[in-house]
């Protein structure tokens, strides 16, 4: 066990929330007290030095982002916490919100202090009622304890935190889509520039950070930069919360030192290995939007740079494991249905393209496709986007393209087999059942 957990170090077991008192007893809100004694620039500087990168997936250094807030615009500044953890395979933010919500609240308040905001919105996923409840209860406690509200810790500084419940759209996890949603509009991502740090909520400077990112802020302020950087490497500082799901013996989450933990260790040590003693086939390391890695490519540490070099992205650290029995066509159909369903429909390539991808994959899946459909799928994916395309406002189209391209790159044989054998195994089994059922109805 190489790591002492930081974020989750005092976390109660799953199903229970750490109360305000428990949190304070464990040293909670000390960081806030400390921060109130610092100049905002000093806090920002600390976060900048800590090098904490955005945990939402993009990995943009949080401190850098904070410095983008223009000074003296006369407009209020807002903080938005992205708690819309809707990436398939990700469930790490949930652990923080449901088990150590005060950590997040403290992080929000400190961040507000740093960027000069007095309001923070935690945009929580609508499908997370437990998280919402935990946050709201914790907020009530914090407000009662004077940690949040008109007079934070008696400093006379006002800072409030609000929980905003989403309505179930994946796209609202995109930072500008999230802003639109908070404003009450359609969850359409916005074009950049202007960047939200300049023009965000209601046209005012707004900083958007992921739950885990903000949860790291009290840790940095409390323990100092050096202690924070003890975990991770220069590329990825601090610990990472990783969710592991799929064909493993013990799915769940774990806080790791990304520099010292490889993906293989995540699966074999932390998740108890591939289930049923089967062999590993593929891993999606960062949530469904990132390229898939074949079993041969997983002996890399879980840092941003290492995973990128391996051909994928650490993303939001949702590791999805697939065993040797998995037909990758089945997996891709699932993903494409998701992205087609979740495309907001604003940009042409994504609106039209995700549907096309789904239809094409489904055709191959059902065995109605021809060999040329596999090439067409690849080509259509290129038409829609890709990491270097920039054809859409947000990354949803690219999120659909990246798995498609990587699935075809690494597991083309599965697709060829589906074409040749009249559909994927799952489809054939299902169709066979249907045929038997039909036959049974007649017999």
């Amino acid at each position: 066990m190489p790591l002492a957990p930081r974020l989750m170090k005092d976390a109660p077991p799953i199903g229970r929330r750490q109360t305000h008192d428990e949190y304070v007893a464990a040293g909670g809100y000390d960081a806030l007290q400390k921060a109130l004694g610092m100049k905002p620039e000093e806090i920002t500087q600390q976060v900048l030095e800590a090098g904490v990168r955005g945990r939402g997936g993009a990995g943009f250094p949080a401190g850098r982002k904070w410095t983008f807030v223009p000074k003296n615009t006369g407009k209020p500044v807002y903080l938005a916490c992205n708690a819309d953890e809707s990436e398939p395979g990700c469930f790490k933010d949930r652990q923080i919100m449901e088990r150590v919500p005060h950590l997040l609240i403290e992080g929000c308040v400190i961040a507000c202090r740093a960027i000069g905001a007095q309001s923070a919105f935690i945009y929580c996923r609508g499908e997370y009622p437990h998280s919402v409840r935990a946050l709201e209860e914790a907020l009530a406690e914090a407000r009662a304890a004077g940690k949040v509200g008109n007079d934070v810790l008696g400093s006379g500084w006002r800072c409030d935190v609000w929980v905003h419940k989403g309505a179930g759209a994946y796209i609202c996890g995109e930072e500008t889509g999230l802003l639109s949603s908070i404003e009450g509009g359609r969850g359409y991502p916005r074009i950049k520039p202007p960047f939200p740090a300049v023009e965000g909520l209601w046209g005012c400077p707004t900083i958007i950070n992921n739950v885990e990112t903000l949860a790291n802020v009290p840790v940095i302020v409390r323990d100092g930069v050096a202690a924070f950087k003890a975990a991770g490497d220069d590329d990825t500082t601090g610990t990472r919360l990783v969710g592991i799901s799929g064909h493993v013996e013990r799915p769940g989450h774990v806080e790791i030192d990304p520099a010292k933990t490889t993906i293989r260790e995540l699966i074999e040590v932390h998740a108890g290995g591939v289930w049923k003693g089967r062999k590993l086939k593929a891993v999606i390391p960062g949530g469904s939007s990132v390229p898939v890695l074949p079993a041969s490519a997983i002996d890399v540490p879980f840092t941003y740079g290492a995973v990128r070099n391996a051909g994928s992205l650490a993303g939001a650290a949702g590791v999805i494991v697939m065993d040797e029995t998995t037909c990758m066509v089945d997996a891709l159909v699932n993903l494409m249905q998701f992205y087609h369903h979740e495309s907001c429909g604003q940009c042409t390539p994504c609106r039209e393209g995700t549907g096309w991808l789904e239809k094409l994959v489904t055709r191959i899946w059902k065995g109605e496709g021809a060999a040329r459909d596999i090439d067409l799928l690849d080509s259509v994916a290129d038409t829609i986007g890709g990491a270097q395309a920039g054809k859409t406002i947000c990354f949803l189209a690219d999120s659909a393209v990246m798995p498609t391209k990587s699935f075809l790159k690494h597991f083309r044989a599965d697709f060829v087999r589906a074409v040749e054998e009249g559909g994927s195994p799952v489809w054939r089994a299902r169709a066979g059942q249907g045929a038997r059922a039909a036959a049974g109805a007649h017999g």
């Binding site: 759209a169 359609r186 074009i191 520039p193 087609h340 369903h341 979740e342 495309s343 907001c344 429909g345 604003q346 940009c347 042409t348 390539p349 994504c350 609106r351 039209e352 393209g353 995700t354 549907g355 096309w356 239809k359 055709r363 067409l376 080509s379 259509v380 290129d382 038409t383 829609i384 270097q388 395309a389 920039g390 054809k391 859409t392 406002i393």
Partner: protein, 520 residues
């Protein structure tokens, strides 16, 4: 702000800081393909067709939202930009119904144009297209076809940003997205038909113009809307010598890109059944057709006999030239009794001025108002009327004045329609034409003199009012009749300092300011 120098397709251009690349390209005459971008609306950046390649940037960029930077090197026609555009075009078309044969937009459809320019001749999409509701009535005026819609949101943004009403919205998600009348709202904006114009495809069509004619058959003429004193520039479309539609023409000094629905739809009078096609004189109580010579002679005799006692009502719907020629006649007769009939029109903040006379300003500059001792229109009802001249005007809405006029010995009416006034009180009727059938100019509420051009030809033997007034003036000895509206305007320019130096040619497409101060 300081200017920024950048290179677009190898040509340098200097534009103010804050300009977007698409605008800079337009300055060079390069029209980067675009759907959602409209110069009069905020940038939405969702159609993704205006992609360009910028040196030093790894990905293609939408030019509509890309601000210029010093030294930027932009390629709109590079292989990468073209490929990106082609890709977007392909995706735009996969679920488009391609029902151009029944789509009114065909012929002025951006989708068609770009498809023709750089689209593919086939499709790689072999699935049933996504179907959405068709011919949805958004309102009495606008019909919507969701399948043709490319979700550029120009309509939504127009209503929101220009018309100031959140009446349209987008519903559903992804490729099932549809524009819809927002829940709880109705599409009632008096400017709603502009969304038909700015819709780059055939999703929004005018219920009025629907299926009337393919646009490529239309004879398109740029002229001025006669419905209010704003003088919105319009492009009139005519076929079979029938005026079929008006659409706004861009004029930043007047109406920018827009016009109101009421003005747009007020074209029924041009092809009305009651148009006058021949001069009439009253004989034994009934109006009978006659020749122009006879009618003009009768009109001149009547006017001469009335002399200074003539009551004249000159319409501010006449052109500057006609008002000038009418004034010339009234001056020759020496009558001080001259007035303009006011015409109410709803007023708003955007374009509508509240004055339904398109040339009210011209009439004001030319001083069509009671002279000292003259009776204005308000005073017509009181005492007996001996003779009257209704120049381009009727009094159908003023029955009490009609009663008074009915007792007059001579009433000359110059009008384009057989109004109740004509039927009841006219002694001599000279058939004029509508503003869509003649040359001339209006002076709008801001003193801008704008040119009218004939769109259709007048019915029967009706003549442009300037010609009638010119010939009538010649009979009354006030100078030769002008041979063209331009000649009349030159005469006006020589006589009135406010119009000095103007001719129809010099007005150009966008009009010119009259010297307002001189007139005041």
């Amino acid at each position: 702000m300081a200017d920024v120098k950048l290179t677009i397709d190898g040509r340098e251009v200097e534009v103010p800081r804050g300009t977007t690349v698409i605008q800079a390209a337009r300055k060079l005459g390069t029209d980067v393909p675009h759907y959602c971008w409209h110069p009069g609306l905020k940038v939405a950046g969702n159609c993704r067709i205006c992609l360009v390649e910028v040196e030093g940037m790894p990905t293609v960029q939408i030019s509509c939202n890309l601000e210029v930077r010093e030294g930027m090197v932009v390629h709109t026609e590079s292989a990468k930009a073209k490929q990106a555009r082609r890709d977007v075009m392909e995706l735009l078309l996969i679920n488009h119904p391609l029902d151009c044969p029944i789509c009114d937009q065909a012929g002025e459809c951006k989708l068609q144009e770009y498809s023709f320019e750089f689209g593919s001749d086939g499709s790689r999409f072999q699935f049933p297209k996504v179907h959405k509701p068709k011919h949805v009535r958004f309102s009495e005026k606008v019909t919507f076809d969701a399948e043709r819609c490319i979700l550029c949101t120009r309509c939504v943004r127009f209503l929101d940003e220009v018309a100031g009403r959140d009446e349209l919205d987008i519903v559903n998600r992804g490729d099932r997205n549809e524009i819809a009348v927002a829940r709880g709202a109705e599409l009632t904006s008096p400017y709603q038909m502009n969304i038909v114009d700015i819709c780059p495809v055939g999703a929004l069509t005018s219920t009025d113009f629907r299926f009337k004619s393919r646009v490529w058959f239309l004879k398109q003429t740029r002229t001025v809307c006669p419905s209010c004193s704003r003088g919105c520039n319009v492009t009139a479309g005519a076929r079979w010598n029938r005026l079929l539609r008006l659409v706004p023409a861009e004029n930043q000094a007047v109406n920018r890109w827009w016009m109101c629905d009421d003005g747009r739809l007020a074209i029924g009078h041009v092809g009305a059944d009651d148009r006058l096609g021949a001069p009439l004189v009253r004989k034994d109580g009934a109006l009978v057709e006659t020749t122009w010579d006879e009618a003009l002679r009768a009109a001149a005799d009547g006017l001469r006999a009335a002399g200074a006692n003539l009551l004249a009502l000159v319409s501010a719907r006449l052109t500057n030239e006609e008002l000038f020629l009418a004034r010339r006649i009234l001056d020759a007769l020496g009558t001080p009794h001259r007035d303009v009939k006011p015409r109410a029109w709803e007023r708003d903040e955007l374009l509508r001025t509240g004055d339904g006379n398109p040339n009210a300003e011209g009439a004001r500059i030319l001083g069509i108002a009671p002279r000292a001792g003259g009776r204005g229109l308000a005073a017509w009802g009181g005492s007996a009327i001996g003779a009257a001249f209704l120049c381009g005007e009727d009094l159908d809405d003023r029955p009490e004045l009609l009663d008074a006029l009915a007792k007059a010995s001579f009433v000359l009416v110059l009008d384009s329609r057989e109004t109740a006034t004509v039927k009841r009180v006219a002694t001599v009727v000279l058939p004029g034409v509508t503003s869509f059938e003649k040359d001339g100019s209006f002076t709008n509420v801001d003193g801008r003199v704008q040119r009218l051009l004939p769109v259709v030809s007048a019915p029967g033997d009706a003549r442009p009012d300037w010609r009638v007034l010119g010939e009538l003036g010649a009979l009354l000895g006030c100078g030769a009749a002008p041979r063209s509206a331009d000649e009349a305007l030159r005469a006006l320019a020589a006589a009135e300092p406010a119009f000095a130096g103007l001719s129809l040619g010099r007005l150009g497409a966008l009009g010119r300011e009259a010297a307002r101060e001189a007139a005041r």
